[in-house]
Amino acid sequence: MSLNYLYSIREGILGLRRARMATFLTVSTIAVSLTIFGALLLITLNVADLVYRIKERMTFEVFLESGLTRDNAMELQSAIKGIRGVAGVMYISKEDALERYRRDLKMDPLQIVEENPLPASFQVSLMPEYRSAQGAGRLKAEIEKLQGVNEVIYHGGLYEILDRTGRYVLVVDAALLIFIVFAVVLLVSNTLKLTILSHRRSIQIMDLVGATHRFIRRPYIIQGIVQGAVGGGVATILLYGAVVLFSSRFPNALRYSFVVILMPLVLGIILSFLGSRIGIKRFLKGL
């Protein structure tokens, strides 16, 4: 490593030590902001995942007209399979339906009525791009047109609620996440401005004696990166701690990946780098 870089690192670290209070405040604010960021990200991803899983389980129930032969039913199954947006079709015969009834309600309907009253049906699952109120509505209409179909039942209202809720959560969270990103960049750049103001004279002298702007910038950018890394690191540790604690109490309730957990650290470094770069560049422009 060249002497220039060693000098920059030394000056950067010394700068942080000289302004201990400002450094502590910046690092803790970054840590808090990025912990909130990480938590929001985790919540957003889990809400999105939950919505996806619920929709995945949501199927159409297509009841067939009574008197349809098994061959007719198989033809109808092929016709439904051929509709764009249908992922799978499962045939549930009258006997299967009765069996399910017995299993679910733990009682035998044939003890009450003489004949099996349950119609044969298809359970139709949808392709992911059709798992919305609009897509499902279109499919329902197409299936209803087919001959032999008596009734199509699907939870259209639930699709709408899921779509709307998912959209609201995403929009609100995205706005909050963007707000936090800007807040961290502004925070780092403003803290750096204070540091720069207190070092104004030495920066002016460096400029005077022929230090390049890159050389002058470097210690301040290193300061920013160190602050961001420490703040982001603390946020990552806090987030991981919270996830572990939550998962131990509610196993399998939370889905997370290490990429998400490490996001505050990575973001802390990137945003602080940007913030410090913007701050020092502005000052040097004015020299």
Binding site: L3, I205, M206, G210
Partner: protein, 213 residues
């Protein structure tokens, strides 16, 4: 400098300046306060860029110079000011060494060079003194030592004795003449004509932004 004009907003600071500095020359810019002496030095140091005309220092044209070019040029153009511009929280050694650190000189060479220039300005014995402990004359010597650290071919001095008493002023002049005798060109701005007369230098008078002699 060829036909250099310099405006700040609607105020014309310099008009039609032509000045050529030979290597090893000693020039005193004389003129009343506000005549444009500091602006002219700023143009040579490329802290100011001319509104019109051409400023060329060591082959570098101000109109096309990048901030990096200017930084490298400044390593060969030393500058001292009336208010010294020293780092008060550092000692004499660190103030001089700072100019070398900032320009990427390695530690061993920094040590050697700092002792050389401190000896040249007569401050070797005060290398560990903090700036506020020094007299005005000594502080200006530190500033001169810092300006000499990168072995410049020209030293710009903007009213270097403006804050000093007559005896100390004499000492600074003697030092500048000694530096000039060793081959470094010196361009010094002063608002008193008698200062210039005491030095064996080319006198350039500036009045209202124009060279009058």
């Amino acid at each position: 400098m060829i036909d250099v004009w310099y405006w700040v907003g609607k105020n014309q600071i310099l008009s039609g300046i032509n000045l050529n500095v030979e290597s090893g020359e000693f020039i005193t810019l004389v003129g009343p306060s506000g005549a444009g002496k500091s602006t002219l030095l700023g143009l040579i140091h490329m802290a100011n860029i001319p509104t019109r005309g051409r400023v060329c220092v060591a082959g570098l044209d101000a109109s096309s110079a990048t901030s990096r070019d200017i930084a490298f040029m400044r390593r060969k153009v030393g500058m001292v000011f009336q208010d010294f511009k020293l780092l008060e929280d550092r000692d004499v050694y660190e103030n001089v060494a700072f100019a070398l650190w900032a320009t990427g000189v390695n530690r061993r060479n920094i040590k050697k060079r700092v002792f050389q220039v401190l000896a040249e300005v007569g401050l070797s014995h005060k290398r560990y003194a903090m700036v506020p402990e020094l007299s005005g004359g000594e502080q200006q010597r530190v500033a001169i030592a810092r300006a000499l650290a990168n072995e410049p071919f020209v030293l710009l001095a903007d009213e270097p004795t403006g804050n000093l008493d007559p005896d100390t002023t004499q000492g600074i002049f003697a030092l500048l003449e000694k530096i000039n005798r060793k081959g470094t060109a010196v361009i010094m701005a002063s608002h008193t004509a008698d200062v210039a007369e005491r030095l064996s230098a080319r006198i350039v008078c500036i009045r209202e932004g124009r060279i009058v002699t």
